[in-house]
């Protein structure tokens, strides 16, 4: 049984703290025995009491404090308890953290990692369940990383801490409790899986050994298991083969693996948990049509949350968020369009 993603992130934080004394952790409710609202920071304050700073409920300020530390030689990790609360720090992000390097003529860096959980399906309701990556993807000057449960989540976090750019590291809430399902022998369960090279790699999955397939599903983060379940059901119940690309870096957008897969499929479906309008899928669609128009046999289709709130009641939440059936419906509809 592999480690759960949350445990893997916690173990990575311990290794990162051991390795680099410039790393500080800043955020709310971090101290043991609490160890952060999702327990990802457990044990750190006991081992490094001087480098774990539990803060008042002051997101706007702690984004700035972290930026100040990063500008003066430290490598802070800011834990934002819920991704929804990133909005409280957005001034610091948009008008400071993302701009300092460029507006100060490349003579400073802001090596800051903002870790935060996004996503729903836990019944937390409209202000504790959102996937707000799209707000960040529109901010030039930051890097946005969103690992899935099949990525080496701990290694990605270590890469983010080593990165000289400010990195938003988006953790999915459901992912914390799920096994970190790393590819073994080029496979994850029944699907072949290829991992890209370098920092923040993408994963590409295929049900037929990367032969000709009907569509590429591009996704990230907590939507990967949904996309993989859809891909498996499409094979078993519809005899339709797809490829699934799980990006780990959303900004700058890692388009290469998408274009590579599209060369074998000719159809593209974007799958994300955030709301539809102005989403990550829209950006991918725009770039893909510009880069690979001749590879496309049909329109790019977006699967996303309904534009609106994420309701609390389970039945309503399930209805608002995109699920396996929505992905299957999008692919089978494309099938009819593209023949």
């Amino acid at each position: 049984m592999s480690m759960r993603c949350g445990q893997a992130l916690n173990a990575a934080l311990h290794e990162i703290f051991e390795r680099d004394e410039r790393v500080y952790l800043i955020g709310e409710d971090l101290l043991d025995p609490y160890g952060g609202a999702f327990k990802i920071s457990q044990g750190l304050s006991t081992r490094w009491p001087d480098r774990v700073l539990t803060t008042p409920v002051s997101e706007a300020s702690i984004f700035g404090v972290s930026a100040g530390l990063a500008l003066r030689g430290y490598r802070p990790i800011l834990e934002v308890m819920f991704g929804d609360f990133v909005t409280l720090g957005l001034d610091q992000v948009v008008n400071g953290i993302a701009k300092f390097r460029a507006m100060f003529d490349e003579r400073v860096t802001v090596p800051l990692v903002v870790r935060t959980p996004m996503g729903g399906r836990r019944g937390y309701g409209p202000t504790h369940s959102q996937s707000l990556e799209k707000l960040l993807v529109g901010v030039p000057g930051i890097t946005v990383v969103a690992p899935s449960e099949c990525h080496d989540v701990g290694a990605l976090l270590a890469e983010a801490v080593d990165d000289d750019e400010p990195v938003f590291f988006i953790e999915n809430k459901l992912m914390y409790g799920r096994p970190n399902r790393r590819p073994e022998g080029g496979r994850v369960d029944e699907l072949a899986c290829v991992e890209g090279e370098g920092r923040y790699p993408a994963l590409t999955f295929s049900g037929n050994g990367f032969g000709r397939a009907e569509a590429t599903l591009v996704t990230y983060g907590g939507m990967l298991p949904v996309a993989l379940d859809a891909a498996t059901q499409l094979i078993l119940e519809h005899e339709v083969f797809t490829e699934v690309v799980a990006l780990s870096r959303l900004l700058p957008l890692d388009l290469e693996p998408v274009l590579d897969s599209l060369g074998r499929t000719g159809m593209l479906v974007t799958v994300e948990e955030g709301t539809l309008t102005g989403g990550v899928g829209a950006e991918i669609a725009a770039r893909v049509q510009a880069e690979a128009w001749s590879d496309l046999n049909g329109p790019v289709v977006r699967v996303a949350a309904r534009d609106g709130i994420v309701p609390s009641a389970r039945s309503l939440e399930d209805d608002a968020l995109p699920g396996v059936e929505d992905v299957i419906a999008a692919v089978t509809a494309l099938e009819r369009v593209g023949g």
């Binding site: 500080y24 700073l53 803060t55 008042p56 002051s58 706007a60 300020s61 702690i62 984004f63 700035g64 404090v65 972290s66 930026a67 100040g68 530390l69 990063a70 500008l71 003066r72 030689g73 430290y74 001034d91 610091q92 008008n95 400071g96 701009k99 300092f100 460029a102 507006m103 100060f104 003529d105 003579r107 400073v108 030039p140 700058p252």
Partner: protein
């Protein structure tokens, strides 16, 4: 204590001369900028501190630029010149010419050099300065971070979040409030309730308030504040009542001319005139004019920055 003895002593005449000369430089630098704007030779915007020079010069004369950090705001030219003396870098930055301290990317309100930083969103600078103070404390450098804000910025919630943190974590942070009575065009009576000092005192932050445009008095007040931060490692909130003769930006002034005229009687340059002799004042004035004329001439002759290819 050494620090207190120093405060009690009258400043050396060389020091007084330097304070006056620096204020004169800042005054004429900014008047020159406004003239260049009027002549159509500058693009963009600027926020001058004409009338407030004693704050920048008095406070920064108590800091050590090689280790202390200064974080300033949109109205940053005086702070920058007092801290760095970099006339050419600032002028070219504002003019968008090669040799600008940030390559023309920052412009008037986004400056970085050495330990000096400025940014243009009010209040956002206070937590950043607090983080810098934390960094210096952790390094054991003995440095303090000074952040300059205005009374308008006291409307921003993040200021109070940051005062709370600075007090809780005992950060070597000096917050200087240059209270010029206006938030852009809005007078304090329409935007500030209660007691300004009490806002910091509520967080257990040491505070004092001084209604003066005398650079020596500002320096004495700042010395006390800096000594407090340096020796206790805890924050200080220094409120300096002042007045801005110039508009908020370039031409946007709707204040009563009588009000401005009355305040001009307390012009920090007039107040400080007595600390140097008349001959010295003329010497300083001539030197400043020569320096600025040369800087303007060279800046106008400098090329504009080359554009760069997109990377993402």
């Amino acid at each position: 204590m050494d620090g207190q003895e120093q405060t009690a002593l009258a400043p050396a005449s060389a020091d007084a001369r330097a304070l006056y000369a620096r204020m004169r430089l800042i005054r004429r630098f900014e008047e020159t900028l406004l003239e260049l704007f009027a002549a159509g030779k500058l693009h963009g915007t600027t926020h001058t501190c004409i009338g407030q020079e004693a704050d920048a010069v008095g406070v920064i004369s108590c800091l050590e630029p090689e280790r202390d950090v200064v974080v300033s705001n949109h109205r940053c030219h005086g702070h920058y010149l007092a801290f760095t003396d970099d006339v050419d870098g600032l002028l070219r930055e504002v003019m968008g010419r090669v040799g600008g301290v940030c390559g023309g990317k920052g412009g008037s309100q986004h400056l970085f050099r050495g330990n000096f930083y400025s940014n243009g969103v009010l209040g956002s600078t206070v937590p950043v300065a607090a983080g810098m103070a934390l960094a210096e404390r952790e390094k054991g450098s003995g440095a303090l971070a000074t952040v300059f804000v205005g009374d308008g910025t006291l409307g921003q919630g993040v200021v109070y979040e940051s005062l709370n943190i600075a007090s809780l974590w005992e950060l070597p942070l000096l917050v200087v409030v240059e209270h010029n009575g206006y938030a852009q065009s809005t007078p304090s009576r329409l935007q500030l309730a209660g007691d300004v000092e009490a806002r910091a005192a509520a967080f257990g932050v040491a505070t004092s308030r001084h209604d003066t445009t005398d650079v020596l008095e500002v320096q004495a007040a700042a010395r006390e504040a800096v000594d407090h931060v340096r020796t206790t490692g805890t924050p200080y909130f220094l409120v300096l009542d002042t007045y801005r003769f110039s508009p908020h930006s370039k031409g946007d002034d709707f204040r009563e001319p009588e009000e401005i005229a009355e305040r001009r009687l307390r012009d920090p340059l007039t107040v400080a005139a007595g600390i140097v002799g008349e001959a010295e004042r003329e010497e300083i004035a001539d030197a400043v004019e020569r320096r600025l004329a040369e800087a303007v001439e060279q800046a106008l002759a400098a090329p504009v920055p080359a554009t760069e290819p997109a990377t993402r």
